[in-house]
């Protein structure tokens, strides 16, 4: 959005139809293509001043039209180019809404599928999803509407204002400015391009590019004191992998990371091992069991994590310092219980 796209708000805050020309133009493009029985040619579109183009500079209007198509695509509205069979490359394009890819195909979901999905969403909402309650409630409404199952009781949705603010910025791909209180109680204003959201042990987190440090950082949604309206648009790097940010207690230290290896017994359940290791590091399965190799900053915390899951067959393998930390846990426990 450029400054010129916005006209000033009137002082009485009364609605002003011409307030946001960009939103109005893109909506009008969607409306016209949606209601037109025939595809519209590029010329019909970019020369139409009522539609919000027709500036007199055709190339500029074509670029604007392309940007507008991209904006609609981000919202799931696909505008496709159509050419008559046998048309020359040089012939003018025509445009229409790709209905198959834009509108949900309710008929393709069976009543059983809808039932399974609504049940799944209800379970997640009932157990109190901290991060995704709002989008799940919206998805639920859409499925219920599509399949006519609007009479089923909706589970109560627990909305969190701070999680909703993060979700809104993430969904719109607009940087979020907020006042954040860290674990030591210090408050600081930050602006973050939200790259991903996750839920860990019932708490909602998000990570993204932090303006202050220029690094990807992780934040707890419930530590946001205040959020402002999201501003500039951003794109998420293609190589960003949220799994790398699903932290463990052993990540919190200023020490340099060391590579640690853990093992699981051969009979350890695949579901359990995958759930525990959260896609971090490298997990290998051989005849003699599972091996997990992962970077660790705090070896004592890693030994403690491993001990907590020892009942699942997890054991430290390397380095030696990790095994020593494991032994120290045992020595201290035995000593605390009065055995020398």
């Amino acid at each position: 959005m450029t400054v010129s796209d916005m006209t000033a708000t009137n002082k009485t805050n009364a609605p002003e139809p011409g307030f946001d020309k960009t939103a109005q133009r893109i909506l009008n493009l969607f409306f016209v293509l949606n209601s037109s029985p025939e595809p519209l040619t590029t010329e019909q579109i970019v020369l139409d001043s009522d539609l919000g183009y027709g500036s007199g500079n055709v190339d500029s209007d074509k670029r604007k039209f392309r940007r507008d198509r991209d904006k609609l695509l981000e919202r799931g509205i696909v505008i496709k180019e159509v050419r008559a069979a046998g048309a020359q490359e040089t012939e003018e394009s025509a445009w229409t809404i790709d209905r198959e890819h834009t509108f949900a195909a309710g008929g393709l979901i069976t009543a059983d599928d809808a039932d399974i999905l609504l049940n799944a969403i209800d379970q997640t909402l009932t157990t109190g999803s901290s991060a995704f309650a709002t989008p799940l409630a919206d998805i639920r409404s859409k499925i219920a509407y599509l399949t006519g199952e609007t009479n089923t009781a909706e589970p109560p949705v627990v909305h969190s204002p701070t999680v909703d603010a993060v979700w809104s910025a993430f969904a719109d791909r607009c940087a979020l400015r907020f006042l954040y209180q860290n674990g030591r109680g210090e408050q600081r204003q930050r602006t973050v391009c939200v790259y991903g959201m996750f839920e860990r042990e019932g708490t909602a987190y998000f990570c993204g590019l932090d303006d202050a440090t220029g690094k990807i950082r992780t934040f707890r949604c419930d530590r946001i004191v205040r959020a402002w309206r999201p501003s500039r648009a951003y794109a998420i790097p293609a190589d960003f992998n949220l799994n790398d940010y699903l932290f463990f207690e052993f990540d919190f230290s200023d020490c340099q990371p060391v590579t640690a290896t853990f093992s699981f017994a051969p009979q350890a359940q695949s579901d359990m091992v995958h759930g525990l290791t959260r896609g971090r590091g490298r997990l290998e399965h051989a005849k003699d069991g599972w091996t997990w190799t992962v970077d660790v900053r705090d070896l004592n915390a890693a030994a403690s994590f491993c001990m907590e899951h020892s009942v699942d067959g997890m054991r430290p393998v390397a380095p030696n310092e990790l095994k020593q930390a494991w032994n120290r846990l045992i020595e201290r426990t035995v000593s605390a219980h009065g055995r020398a």
């Binding site: 959005m1 916005m6 609605p15 946001d20 109005q24 893109i26 909506l27 009008n28 409306f31 016209v32 209601s35 009522d50 904006k71 981000e74 799931g76 890819h101 509108f103 949900a104 979901i109 599928d113 999905l117 049940n119 799944a120 999803s129 989008p135 799940l136 919206d138 509407y145 204002p161 701070t162 809104s168 993430f170 969904a171 719109d172 607009c174 996750f198 839920e199 309206r229 998420i236 799994n243 009979q267 359940q269 579901d271 359990m272 959260r278 004592n300 403690s304 994590f305 907590e308 899951h309 494991w326 032994n327 846990l329 045992i330 201290r332 426990t333 035995v334 605390a336 219980h337 055995r339």
Partner: protein, 305 residues
């Protein structure tokens, strides 16, 4: 936290969402409050959006959208503003995709749902996740609970050397922290038990229906309390406030930074692993025999040089 002043991006998204919702609502329309609450916008922003929608027109066909405000209701008149349900947005699509994957929805059903609802391309890799361990049988167990089907599960409890089969009447699925549990009636033991979903190795649905049991299941906490032993542990108060064990029955602070925590547990090995992981910060109170078993178990786990 209703977004007070919308950005152009948000105004566009909300306008499309509102047109879609108003068309779906039909002649009844929606109340202003409903719209504001569902789309997280203020009344002023709604006025602004209605203003924009009302300007939409097609010069060629003469079609225009009529968005009528009747008292507190907003109604879309005529067919010109027809917005059929859109596929999910990229971000919503990612959430649904995650839901389909993490709950282990059956592949064919998941594929149909994806085809019908997800945007043509998600546009980015998976960027929403959670760390809840749900195992592989969530969907089948949900159906079994709904339909009242007795099940045969192969399960290895924390104290079992080998997995063994259990005939169960599934009652409820519940979550504690990052673990999902099935609460079920163990037919042979004739009692209620809880099973970690990620430790169920196999599930078979039997031809039999569940039998109604007199005891009502309400929570994992109750389930643990019914079938378990309990122990009193001493630990620093801040640690007591952080632990998320499902079996905690009470926490009593002694006023000197220490707390006495009473915990129900079904596996002694689990209890020992939690105590040892705290490296001496947790002590067993008033049970010398249990303390001795803890020390023996701990020493057996040490690496010998």
């Amino acid at each position: 936290m209703a977004v007070r002043k919308l950005t152009s991006e948000q105004r566009l998204s909300r306008s499309i969402d509102i047109m879609e919702a108003l068309y779906a609502a039909g002649e009844a329309g929606m109340t202003r409050d409903e719209i504001c609450s569902r789309f997280d916008i203020s009344g002023a922003s709604l006025d602004e959006i209605i203003g924009i929608i009302s300007t939409l027109a097609d010069r060629e066909s003469g079609a225009r959208i009529i968005c009528e405000c009747r008292d507190e209701r907003v109604v879309l008149i005529g067919d010109a503003g027809r917005v059929l349900p859109l596929r999910l947005s990229a971000a919503e699509g990612a959430v649904l995709n995650h839901e389909l994957e993490s709950l282990g929805i059956e592949e064919c059903a998941a594929a149909r749902i994806r085809r019908a609802l997800l945007p043509a391309e998600l546009g980015y890799n998976q960027r929403v996740v959670d760390t809840v361990a749900r195992g592989s049988y969530w969907q089948q167990l949900c159906c079994a609970i709904q339909d009242g089907v007795r099940c045969l599960v192969t399960y290895r409890s924390l104290d079992d050397q080998h997995p063994r089969r259990r005939l169960i009447d599934p009652l409820k699925i519940t979550t504690n922290g990052d673990q999902t549990y099935l609460i079920a009636w163990d037919v042979e033991a004739d009692g209620q038990r809880s099973y970690r979903m990620d430790k169920i190795e196999e599930l078979l649905l039997t031809e039999d229906s569940v039998v109604r049991h007199t005891t009502e299941t309400t929570s994992l906490h109750d389930s643990l309390a019914q079938a378990s032993q309990s122990v009193k542990l001493l630990m620093p108060l801040d640690m007591a406030e952080r632990v998320r064990w499902a079996g905690i029955r009470s926490i009593k602070a002694d006023g000197e930074g220490t707390a006495s925590v009473t915990v129900s547990y079904s596996s002694e090995n689990w209890l020992f692993s939690q105590i040892i992981a705290a490296g001496g910060a947790i002590r067993i109170a008033d049970d010398p025999a249990l303390s001795k078993r803890l020390c023996d178990a701990a020493e057996a786990m040490a690496f010998r040089s």
